[in-house]
């Protein structure tokens, strides 16, 4: 994949499970249906005669806009999911994400306060989990979604172990 300019070179990026794309697409579909349905309200009102004077641009434009936005997001989703990567180094954990707004994060093991593994119902159905690293800084938004459950458990153990051996005070 096209590694971004801001990524450290000579690093072996691990990628999250492709199944996560399916999870995201399901979420996307639900969201899209609901939003487009809501956007159709003026159109429905006009059709039902409740609001016969609803202007065209509103009645047709709103659903069209919503649909276009969701199509655009659907186009981006596969790339966004592919863009999420992580790498374990000896002293720290690297995490990258984003296509337009790229972010590469480094979390030293010695700074990790705890590690969260969460599994939502949809993720569970696909055998996935999300990992979140917490440091003392609220700005550390280190979430790694879409990990295979086994890999998530391995990472959690691994990270906790390294965190313990390298833990520094604040």
């Amino acid at each position: 994949m096209s590694s971004a300019a801001i990524d450290p070179a000579d690093l072996n990026w691990e990628h999250i499970s492709p199944r996560y794309l399916t999870v995201r697409l399901i979420g996307w579909a639900v969201e899209a249906v609901v939003t487009v349905a809501l956007a159709c309200i003026p159109l429905a009102l006009r059709a039902a005669g409740v609001w016969p004077s609803a202007p065209d641009w509103l009645a047709w434009g709103l659903p069209a806009l919503a649909a276009a936005a969701f199509v655009w997001r659907a186009v981006l989703l596969p790339r966004q999911v592919r863009a999420v990567g992580y790498a374990e180094r000896n002293e720290d954990f690297l995490l990258r994400s984003g296509i337009f707004y790229q972010r590469t994060l480094v979390v030293p093991y010695g700074r990790m306060q705890y590690v969260d593994v969460t599994v939502g119902p949809l993720e569970r159905a696909f055998g996935l989990c999300s990992l979140k690293l917490h440091t003392a800084a609220p700005g550390t938004n280190a979430v790694l979604p879409g990990l295979p459950a086994a890999e998530g458990a391995r990472l959690r153990e691994h990270l906790s172990e390294r965190g313990e051996t390298q833990l520094a005070g604040l």
């Binding site: 790229q102 030293p108 003392a136 700005g139 833990l167 520094a168 005070g169 604040l170």
Partner: protein, 536 residues
Amino acid sequence: MSVPHNGEWARVHPVSPLVRGWIALAAIAFVFGRNIVEDLVGLRGGDGSESGASAPQGTVLLIGIAVLAGILLIIAVGFFLSWRFTRYQVTEEHVRVHSGIVFRQQRQARLDRVQAIDIIQPLLARLFGLAELRFEVADAGESAVRLAFLKLDDAQQLRTMILNRASGAAATDPDASGPADGDPHAGDNMLSTHGAKPAAAGAAGGRPRPGAAEAPEQPILELRPGRVVAATLLSGTTLFLLAGLACAVVITAVTGEPVTLAVMVPLLFGTVGGYWSEFSTSFNFRAAVSRDGIRVRYGLLDTRTQTVPPGRIQAVAVRQSPLWRLTGWYRVSVNVAGYGDGASSEGQARTKLLPAGTLPEVFAILALVLPEPGTDRPADVFTAGITGRGADHGFTTTPRRARWIAPLAWRRNGFTLTDTAVLVRSGALWRVLSVVPHARTQSMALEQGPLRRRFDTADLVLHSTAGPVHPRVRKIDTETVHRLFLEQAVRARDARRRDRTARWNRPAGASSAAPAVPGPANAVDPASKEFPHEQQ
């Protein structure tokens, strides 16, 4: 009542619930007082027709008094129980507080995890000679342990004792856990509220307690009221007021109708509130340094004394709002884990390390925060960071090609490195210099959006604990900032290894040695030779 030394349980001062709950009492007194007065007035008027003529006014009054007495009794019992059920204990390792009548809460915090200790005296507590002690650990939310209220002397003694034990100066237990970075359990239990009753309250008792001498202080600076008033009047609140007035004038000019008072009142309230909180929390500001860290005192009605042990300051920022350029004043604010994000006015007050100071005063404070600036010419480097622009003194700025996305600030935006810290400079109108010691770097992120990518620049965000300082190296050449990102990860790691502030006073080697009662020579030298303390 005195301070519990060897782990026995103690209670807060009996008046405490009254001092805490006086607002509720005042409200009740007000409501009932008004009713009774109205009743009396009605009685005198002899007009009994308003409320059921069958009940004579005297009976109503009696019922009112009875209800009032009942409520007061309930409150008194509540106060008594809440006092009775609140107990605290300080052992060699922990401070514990049990509280609550129906929902019991048992809370303990590790002494070696202390981030700051505050002694707070709200106005009413001051009248009673009482004080609240707050013990902060690294949890950005509420205070870890609040003891409200103790006698002022007791609070101070307790603070001294806690600091002595936390610092390792009073370590009498040879088995006491080592510095936190070598302790495998150090991180798992920073603050726990668990239900287990402490096995033996006297576990730590019986040991000879070293004389808990207050670490001697050396005053660093104090602000005169005149400075505080002037700084308040020139603060951002004034800009806000001017902007509001300008809006009103423009609206009046455009619509031809004068802006009504109803619109102006919120503006005025906001302004007065801003001025007040700024003034009252900067008033009588004094900073001092002792072996146990930086100590600041301030407050007009409510007074506070804050102690931040060495190495607990996660990041520091020197700021200057536009109007302060006229007077050459700066504000120093810090991130301390446990002080929270500084969103509330209390949080803002607590994170101020210098409300308004001149450049030499700023240096005096910076010397406390950063005893080793890590450069041969700290005065030049830090001055360049605070007021300078361009590439002087090793600053790397936004490249010229990117000046279109930072038309004013591109020469200000920049960073430089010393051996001990990163200096991040930004802001053309609101100047900010953020300093993050390498040893305090938590995590870092490189960020690049489409616009920055177009100009081949990127941002580096240094994550710090919650607080007013948000260091972000802005719009630096991608390759340069990329290198900084990788190198900084290594520097931070090495600095972390060297850092020994967890037990800041632990005597090297012998931990059971008699506690060295510190002479002034032992104290942190405030006029750190490296820092331009006396420079004018």
